[in-house]
């Protein structure tokens, strides 16, 4: 068949085509036409042009809309296929999974390298199988013939025999569900010559550069009803075959591309590629309407730079697709649901609860942050669990039931929410995401029992969700319509695009021509041996597209701007497209010479000199009315950290730790010791009795507090018990030495003041011991090492570095029962090293008391005068606090007052 008509590449393609169509037909005849092009976008352009032409010619009253198709959709428009019997994508995948369940795992591992005992691997393998058999169908190859092909090795033959067997099972599973595979249905219809095409119908195939064997066979059956329209390139003869597809030999012949009309630039990296493109567009002061410019971002890393650069000129970018379905909010919600069902931990529960579409009360998020930071529980507490949707407790079996439950869950979340997809990008994506999930759920919910009830598949709720989520993979959301913007198209969509200015960013090898995607069952070498679609075909196709792009631009008085990158953002080298060299030797050499010349890097604008920076602070700072002993001690270490942590009470959230953080660990140890101090055994001299008490009490509190802790936390607490054990001996010895615990976790009375402080001082003394008329104030510490807690630990030079115990010493005057001339200070150390556990009495004589008092007075005055903006060693440093303090900033001097 060779019903080919050529249109000159000198004409505007779309306009030329529509004019030609209307010249040859009345508007009424158009309903017998099916226009076929490579992409649906090309069809849209064609339709639009046709309607404008109808409008211009005033043909509405006779106009009957034609049909449009892509090569992929054409079979279903012209073959008589019972569409209600066609298996959905979900049904197909489930049929593949069922078929694989019949396969021996060892066989699958041997031939496919896939562990089909793993659910996720099986789902992926099913996807690959589907792709592979579609490829075979397109190339009209029977898998059984491969299994018997003597050219192939024995191992390869066995692999294809196994594949054929799995395919047979797949077909059988679909048949049992009264369904048919799309490719198989097409093939049967084609084999039976079931063409449902009116006698007067015409199929016009527009500028399609390549076709599969199946498509060729199909069009052959349509005979003279098919007409091909192709571009004519004056410098190429016999460039197309009978189906108007590119002749590989012609289009891969070097010297055949005409690039002298294209402008070519090499740029160092994606950012400079964009800069180079904009320079090229604006050369000689040229200005273009955004609608006259099309970009193609073959190098995806250019996207943010382009958006930003165009944004600077008040021009938006619209891309071909609107994002991945997997990234849409409804799918993220389902993923979070799945995570919580798999592992009902606090983190997963909280993450589900605070999904923006689910969170009933925005305050809850902050509450959970605080709860986590201070308590670090392993389970979501009851009060929060109650807020989770009912579905988390669903114990369904079977895919259909689980899908219904999932739909109900989504209805519960989204049912009442008003969504206007036209409102903004987020709403658009949310609406489209929900639409697509709804469609997937519908597909899955109506799967035949024979497919979904195979006991080997064992679909509980979690597995069902997994399957549903798998259906979302790879699906793209449609793009929100946004006029007045520059369009970014994929390479294959460029072909019929009429924009006079076209910019290709990333005209590099591997992008164009790209590598052919071979299936995991046939590598490129085998594909070539079998005569399947190869890199040569891809090169020919892209060579054709490049020809057409250049020709159309030339004719439209515009330009084709090819921007080659040298490297990606991370420095990975990029090679120029070999299409650049398939021109005349002269041009090819010139391009190669340009590639070999490294451009001089531009000199960047001078930096602004180092800036001065004032420590961030609130505008409204009142002197505090109450300060804790701990806070005063923190002030001593870093006034600014005191300001942040104690005065403003700011907190940082740490969700990365899998262990009890030091604060929670210390609190837990304190709780155990507090109970010990109030227990009957508190003054026991029997180390074993004390050890038993501490062990049992820590276990009791542990079980009370952590419902289902991780193994790491269990181990942490178990190791803490070791510390208690080591401590017990020292405690018993102390008791034997006459010391008695008289108070545990004793709070300072309200309204305590010290040294004329204007604020009240609060605090809790961990423990008070007494021996005769001696009193000892004790602070519990749970450090790893004891180095910071020696008897001289409070001092450095002539100053205190820690005032906690001295402050308690002074404040103990507020307790009437503690009037004693012999008050000493000590640490009770629960250290990591057993030999360091025990008590350290601190050196604190009259001289020290005077120094401590002077220091306290100084601090009180500083706090009262709001002298908080001085840096010191922060006791709480988190990444955010470091940022606030300016610790990691270079070239910036941080000042306390900006002077």
């Amino acid at each position: 068949m060779s019903n080919i008509s050529y249109i000159s590449s000198q004409d505007p393609i779309i306009k030329g085509l529509t004019g030609d169509i209307l010249k040859r037909n009345t508007a009424a005849e158009l309903d017998s036409y099916i226009f076929v092009s490579s992409s649906s976008r090309s069809n849209r352009l064609l339709e639009q042009e046709l309607l404008l032409e109808v409008e211009n010619r005033g043909l509405w009253s006779t106009f009957q809309a034609p049909q449009y198709a892509t090569l992929g959709s054409l079979p279903h428009q012209i073959l008589d296929i019972a569409t209600d019997k066609l298996a959905s994508a979900a049904a197909c995948q489930l049929a593949w999974v069922n078929a694989l369940s019949n396969c021996l795992p060892a066989q699958a591992l041997l031939h496919f390298g896939v562990d089909i005992k793993s659910r996720s691997e099986t789902l992926l393998l099913a996807q690959q199988l589907s792709k592979f058999f579609s490829q075979l169908a397109a190339e009209q190859i029977d898998c059984c013939s491969l299994a018997e092909n003597n050219v192939l090795s024995e191992n390869e033959q066995q692999k294809f025999a196994l594949l054929a067997q799995i395919h047979d099972d797949y077909v059988a599973f679909l048949s049992a569900a009264s369904l048919q595979d799309k490719d198989r249905a097409r093939q049967i219809a084609l084999d039976n010559n079931n063409i449902a095409l009116n006698a007067n119908a015409k199929i016009v195939v527009l500028c399609v550069p390549e076709m599969s064997k199946f498509q060729r066979k199909l069009l052959s059956l349509c005979g003279s009803q098919v007409e091909f329209v192709q571009l004519q390139f004056d410098h190429l003869t016999n460039a197309f075959d009978d189906f108007a597809c590119v002749d590989c030999d012609v289009f891969t012949e070097s010297g055949n591309t005409l690039l002298h009309d294209a402008s070519l630039s090499f740029a160092a990296n994606p950012q400079e590629m964009v800069e180079s493109a904009l320079l090229s567009l604006g050369i000689n002061g040229n200005k273009h309407s955004p609608e006259d410019v099309t970009f193609s971002l073959l190098e995806k890393q250019c996207a943010p730079f382009l958006s930003q650069a165009l944004g600077g000129f008040d021009v938006d970018v619209r891309t071909a697709v609107g994002g991945d379905l997997e990234g849409s909010l409804p799918v993220l919600l389902l993923k979070q649901l799945k995570a919580y069902i798999d592992i009902p931990s606090f983190d997963n529960g909280a993450a589900l609860l605070v999904h923006p579409d689910l969170l009933p009360n925005p305050k809850l998020k902050a509450e959970l942050d605080r709860y986590r930071q201070e308590e670090y529980p392993q389970l979501l507490p009851e009060m929060y669990l109650a807020k989770l949707p009912e579905v988390v407790n669903v114990k369904t079996n079977g895919l259909n039931a689980a899908t219904a439950a999932t739909r109900n869950f989504l209805l519960e979340v989204y049912g009442e929410i008003d969504i206007n997809p036209g409102q903004n990008e987020e709403s658009h994506r949310r609406a489209k995401g929900l639409e697509m999930i709804a469609s997937i759920l519908s597909e899955v919910q109506h799967l035949d029992d024979s497919l979904s009830n195979n006991p080997k598949l064992g679909f509980n709720f979690a597995r069902s969700l997994d399957f549903i989520l798998h259906q979302c993979r790879g699906k793209k959301l449609t793009q929100r319509y946004n006029e007045q913007s520059v369009e970014c198209l994929d390479w294959l969509e460029l072909n019929l695009d009429p924009a006079p200015e076209m910019v290709i960013l990333g005209f590099n090898d591997n992008y164009v021509p790209g590598q052919t995607a071979n299936s995991m069952f046939i590598d490129s070498e085998l594909a070539q041996r079998l005569g399947l679609y190869s890199d040569e075909h891809r090169l020919a196709r892209d060579s054709y597209i490049l020809q057409s792009l250049a020709a159309v631009r030339k004719n439209a008085g515009g330009h084709l701007h090819l921007i080659c990158g040298r490297t990606q953002n991370d420095g990975s080298p990029l090679l120029p497209s070999r299409l650049l060299f398939m021109c005349s030797d002269h041009d090819a050499y010139a391009n190669a010479a340009e590639f070999s010349t490294e451009p001089l890097p531009p000199v960047k604008a001078a930096e602004r000199p180092a800036s001065e920076r004032v420590l961030p602070r609130n505008s409204n700072n009142e002197a505090p009315l109450k300060v804790s002993v701990t806070a005063i001690n923190n002030y001593l270490k870093s006034p600014y950290s005191f300001y942040l942590s104690n005065h403003l009470r700011l907190r940082s959230v740490d969700v990365n730790g899998d262990e009890l953080n030091p604060m929670v660990y210390g609190n837990f140890a304190h709780s155990v010791m507090q109970n010990f101090g109030n227990s009957e055994v508190r003054n026991s001299v029997d180390a074993r009795e004390i050890a038993n008490y501490l062990r049992n009490e820590s276990q009791r509190l542990f079980e009370l507090r952590f419902a289902s802790p991780s193994a790491v936390i269990r181990a942490q607490v178990e190791l803490l018990k070791t510390r208690f054990f080591d401590f017990s001996a020292k405690q018993a010895a102390r008791a034997a030495d006459g010391w008695k615990i008289i108070s545990s976790e004793r709070k300072l009375p309200p309204g305590c003041k010290l040294f004329d402080s204007k604020f009240d001082i609060s605090g809790i003394i961990d423990r008070i011991d007494q021996r005769g008329d001696e009193i000892c104030l004790i602070d519990y510490k749970t450090p790893n090492g004891k180095s910071r807690y020696t008897k001289n630990a409070l001092f450095k030079g002539d100053l205190f570095t820690d005032l906690q115990l001295p402050l308690y010493f002074f404040l103990s005057n507020n307790f009437k029962d503690l009037k004693s001339s012999k008050v000493s200070l000590a640490y009770a150390l629960l250290t990591a090293d057993s030999k360091d556990c025990g008590f350290t009495s601190l050196k604190f004589d009259d001289k020290h008391k005077l120094i401590a008092e002077a220091q306290c007075r100084e601090i009180f005055a500083a706090i009262e005068s709001k002298n908080w903006f001085v840096l010191g060693d922060s006791p709480f440093a988190s990444a955010t606090e470091e940022a606030l303090r300016g610790d990691s900033l270079l070239g910036v001097t941080t000042h306390c007052d900006g002077k």
């Binding site: 200005k287 990234g327 969170l359 930096e607 510390r723 990591a832 030999k835």
Partner: protein, 1001 residues
């Protein structure tokens, strides 16, 4: 006449600057111009930059050969092209090479291995759709692996393991410790055999603690001196508690003296016994720890691999390990007999990499293909990444012994084309004289001897002026040594840059931590410096604010982050600065939704302008751009959490492609680069470095064998007591010292004409194991009478200058060519009509707001299928009077009066009926147009007596129950149908009626 094909196997030992890349490109061009196809030549190197440079050099040299007769001759002289070629031949060669650009195989080894892994996924046991992991993902995976390991073992076991790992038996936060220990040993344990951890023999002794305590009971004081009795108590404590360090410490006496007095005979007798006991305790401890390590690391590694399989995330080292194992076990065969091999920087090849390459090397040698290996053992600086220069030095012997007919020629490249004679002579002085240094440790002495064994003096090919200087920099009370060095380096760089702005200057340091200090100093004096090799972008306030903002949005409980944003200059991010908590929480929720919906990249892009307004310095703008880039990279990862993003930003290092002439980088990053001047401010580090962080040591029986000995390294005291451990420690020290020398060599040889070294004043302690000692020893610098030679206040003392230094040459540069950045102007003008009109279907009309329930309800497949079926059946119905159907459901519908009436033929008149008719129409409304596309279910057109269409009714079938809300929506649809029909029939709006035919009502 063209050169004949002459495959050869060569090793080129090439000192710095002798033209490794040049030689490799010659070898490549030789093969290519003699007919080898690019896919038959594989060239590998170590960095992506080097790979790009080799590729570029191939084209560059050929193109130069076309344009320049001298260059053409040079190509011939170096046998890069056949001797009878003219410029036209070379030109044709350029085109030929360009046309096969996709076949050129010049890459890094990692990139090559990545391809191998993709091709052999099945054989390597990689899961489907595996991919390379990011650094922060590696850390998370390891943490999870350890968490799972803890969960899988009994509590008692874990407590016992954790208790025995360090000196403290009950650490609070052991997960971090396990994490760092595993990270530090992963390389060792990934290449060892089953018995590796059994390398320590038990030490048998009759000495027990009881025996020693018995002897200590009533022992004489160590010497006759006040306070000496406490020594006995300390010894008793040490023995009682089995404290190895204390026992060792209290038993060590030189010449049996303590405080210069002879110790008591009891102690002379006791100390060796204590030492024996300490050794037995230490040996038991190490053996116990080895046992734990063997199990712990092996189990964690298995768990890690399982997690990697599950998440499909693999690191480069995993891939290398998997391929090496598969090659060793002959599961894959990577030997291509038709391949010519060009291997660059071979001294940095690791054992695992060697195992992968070895079959190919063997094949190439045995098949008499070309094998061109270039490297320099003096530049082996990747020992920390398992690089082993012995693979290069032993290559020739290996080839002769292990390949059939293998005869590899080894030669050296000696002419240095990079540096001035002064630079090279300075380098020679340092290394040639290094054997005269008397180091404190034996290991350093060994390293120096080994390293310099084959050292040959450099030979400068170019006659260019040079200058080599050594400064002494003193610390002060307020400025420590590091900061003093940083300030000095920055001051010198600024000065040199001012004198010769077009010349390249590099400040090279050993450690990343020094980079930040110097960068800070440079900025203080307003010198813009580019970095290389990767830095985190969190050194800009704009980035930190953005991260705090994201943290606050995702974690409203993080009030610190919120405070950071609220108190920043940023007030255009939203008006949230004065919001109440509740308002902020609500606002944060909205922002979270947006971020989750559109991703971090798009979200930040929307706000980047606001950030740039507040943070307008070049540094901030640059960093914000990099933040955007990373945000888009992060969006491709499965994580969606702000803290993961923050972690990603903190851990990801980005290369800075700034075009500044002052560069700041580590010496490792400077490998392969050259600069007009090099400043070295970090020369006082120990040659051995800090090995106390090492937790295990290993040793291979031969260069390429797996580790046969692995041993825990609790402390250097343990090594003093256990000979096997001491041997391993000694090996490590020697290799560390050797690598430090290589690093110094690389640093010195990056300079073209000027080198400035900075050292602190000579140590009075007699320590000689420092790099500065090596320098001082070599250049024999004056030790007194320092003089200030600079007139400004740099406070630098010049201690030494090379005698031939030309101090003035640097300032002679005045041809400073500045390439101005082109001015950015918009290439756009006001937009015209959109190219692609909006396309709508009538069903979308009136759909402004709809609920989730609407969406979820619409996709009832059964309802849709039923609707389609009814529509299809009704297509056959022109008038109900003439229509019959077997479908019982439709029969019921058609029996309804309101349905019958709509489908009945009107009593009189000429009517035309359209059924299921597709349409598309161009609707113009005011200034805007759109394409309306759809299908009429049924249109009944009334014609007048002249056959002219005068009125029409649109009937839209609806199945299912319709409520009032839906009716309103459907009315909007009907209005759209009407618009299309008005156009198609050329009728007015009043001539068309519309009807919703509710079939189920």
């Amino acid at each position: 006449m063209a050169n004949s094909m002459n495959p050869s196997q060569q090793i080129k030992l090439a000192s710095a600057g002798t033209g490794k890349t040049f030689s490799l490109s010659n070898a490549y061009l030789d093969l290519f111009t003699n007919g080898k196809a690019p896919n038959e030549i594989m060239a590998s190197t170590f960095t992506r930059k080097a790979a790009a440079e080799i590729l570029n050099r191939l084209f560059e040299r050929l193109v130069e050969g076309v344009d320049d007769a001298d260059k053409l001759q040079e190509l011939k002289d170096f046998s890069a092209i056949p001797s009878d070629w003219c410029a036209e031949d070379v030109k044709a060669c350029v085109v030929k090479l360009a046309l096969s650009i996709d076949k050129i195989r010049v890459s890094t080894l990692d990139s090559y291995f990545n391809k191998v892994a993709s091709q052999h996924r099945r054989e390597l046991g990689l899961p489907l759709q595996w991919r390379m992991s990011e650094i922060h993902q590696d850390a998370e995976l390891l943490q999870s692996a350890i968490g799972n390991y803890v969960a899988k073992n009994s509590l008692t076991d874990i407590v016992s393991i954790v208790s025995s790992l360090g000196e403290a038996n009950a650490p609070r936060d052991f997960l971090d410790k396990l994490l760092s220990e595993t990270t530090a040993t992963l390389d060792l344990i990934s290449d060892c055999d089953d018995k590796s951890w059994d390398c320590i023999s038990p030490f048998i002794t009759n000495v027990s603690a009881e025996l020693l305590l018995g002897k200590l009971d009533g022992i004489n004081n160590i010497i006759d001196r006040k306070g000496a009795e406490s020594k006995t108590k300390l010894m008793i404590d040490a023995v009682s508690s089995g404290d190895v360090k204390a026992m060792y410490h209290h038993s060590c006496y030189e010449d049996n003296l303590w405080y210069k007095k002879p110790i008591h005979d009891d102690w002379v007798e006791l100390c060796p016994l204590v030492m024996d006991y300490a050794r037995s305790v230490a040996t038991r401890q190490v053996m116990a720890r080895n046992k734990i390590y063997a199990r712990l690391f092996s189990d964690v590694q298995d768990e890690l691999l399982r997690l990697r399989q599950q998440t499909r995330l693999f690191s480069f080292s995993d891939i290398t390990r998997l391929i090496a194992a598969a090659v060793s076990e002959q599961r894959i065969d990577l030997a291509d007999k038709e391949l010519d091999l060009l291997l660059d920087e071979f001294q940095d090849t690791s054992v695992l990499q060697w195992r992968i390459l070895q079959p190919q090397i063997t094949a190439s040698v045995e098949q008499q293909r070309s094998l061109f290996t270039v490297g320099d053992t003096k530049q082996a600086i990747y020992g920390w990444r398992s690089g082993d220069s012995r693979l290069l030095s032993g290559f020739k012997d290996w080839a002769q012994k292990n390949t059939r007919g293998g005869c590899v020629e080894q030669s050296t490249l000696e002419k240095n084309f990079r540096s001035s004679a002064v630079i090279l002579d300075t380098t020679d002085l340092v290394f040639d004289n290094s054997t005269q240094l008397v180091p404190n440790s034996e290991e350093v002495a060994n390293a120096i001897n080994d390293w310099t064994a084959d050292y040959k003096k450099h030979d400068a090919a170019q006659d260019i002026p040079g200058c080599a200087l050594l400064f002494e920099v003193e610390k002060t009370d307020t400025i420590n040594e590091k900061l003093a060095m940083a300030k000095a380096a920055a001051a010198r760089a600024a000065k040199l840059h001012k004198q010769a702005p077009s010349k390249s200057i590099a400040i090279l340091v050993r450690q990343n931590s020094m980079l930040a200090l110097i960068q800070d100093e440079l900025r203080k004096i307003d010198v813009q410096a580019g970095s290389h090799g990767g830095v985190a972008i969190t050194d800009a306030e704009s980035v930190l604010i953005a991260l705090s903002w994201l943290t606050a949005v995702f974690y409203p409980g993080d009030t610190l982050a919120r405070f950071h944003v609220q108190t920043s200059q940023l007030n255009t991010f939203g008006d949230e600065n004065d919001l109440s908590d509740e308002q902020f929480d609500r606002h944060a929720q909205l922002q979270r939704r947006t971020i989750l919906s559109i991703g971090f990249g798009d979200y930040l892009r929307r706000h980047v302008d606001d950030l740039q307004v507040c943070f307008s310095s070049g540094h901030d703008r640059h960093r914000l751009q990099q933040l955007l880039d990373l945000a888009y990279r992060f969006d491709a990862l499965p994580e969606k959490d702000a803290l993961s993003f923050v972690e990603f930003i903190h851990t990801t290092k980005v290369s800075d492609s700034s075009a500044t002439k002052v560069r700041l980088m580590t010496i490792h990053a400077a490998k392969g680069l050259e600069f007009d001047a090099v400043i070295l401010p970090q020369l006082n580090d120990s040659l051995i470095g800090n090995i106390h962080r090492q937790i295990a040591l290993g040793s291979r029986p031969s260069t390429i064998a797996p580790y046969s000995e692995l041993c825990a390294y609790p402390s250097s005291t343990h090594a003093e007591l256990i000979p096997e451990l001491a041997k391993l420690e000694s090996k490590l020290k020697t290799s560390r010292a050797s690598e430090a020398m290589s690093l110094l060599y690389v640093a010195l040889t990056r300079a073209v004409e000027r080198i400035e070294m900075m050292v602190p004043p000579a140590s009075k302690s007699g320590t000689t194991d420092r790099i500065s000692c090596l320098l001082r020893n070599g250049i024999d610098c004056v030790s007194s009478d320092t003089k200030l030679i600079f007139t400004d206040n740099e406070e630098l003392c010049l201690k030494w200058q090379h005698p031939q230094s030309d101090l003035n040459s640097w300032a002679q540069d005045d041809n400073h060519e500045v390439v101005a950045q082109p001015k950015k102007t918009s290439p756009f003008t006001v937009s015209k009509t959109p190219r692609l009109l909006k396309r709508v279907a009538p069903s979308q009309a009136g759909a402004g707001n709809y609920s989730g329930a609407d969406i979820l309800g619409e996709f009832s497949q059964a309802a849709m299928a039923r609707g389609s079926k009814i529509h299809a059946l009704l297509e056959g119905c022109e008038w109900i009077e003439d229509f019959t159907t077997d479908d019982s459901e439709l029969q019921v519908m058609l029996s309804k009066e309101h349905v019958r009436s709509k489908l009945s033929r009107p009593p009189a008149g000429d009517f035309e009926v359209w059924r299921e008719r597709n349409f598309s129409a161009l609707i113009n409304e005011g200034d805007s147009s759109y394409i309306l596309r759809g299908c009429f279910d049924r249109v009944v057109i009334h014609r007048d007596s002249n056959g002219k269409r005068v009125a029409a009714e649109i009937i839209d079938y609806k199945t299912g129950i319709i409520n009032d809300t839906s009716r309103v929506k459907y009315q909007a649809q009907l209005d759209e149908y009407s618009k299309a029909l008005q156009l198609l029939l050329d009728l007015g709006v009043d001539d068309i009626s519309c009807c919703l035919l509710e079939l189920d009502t």
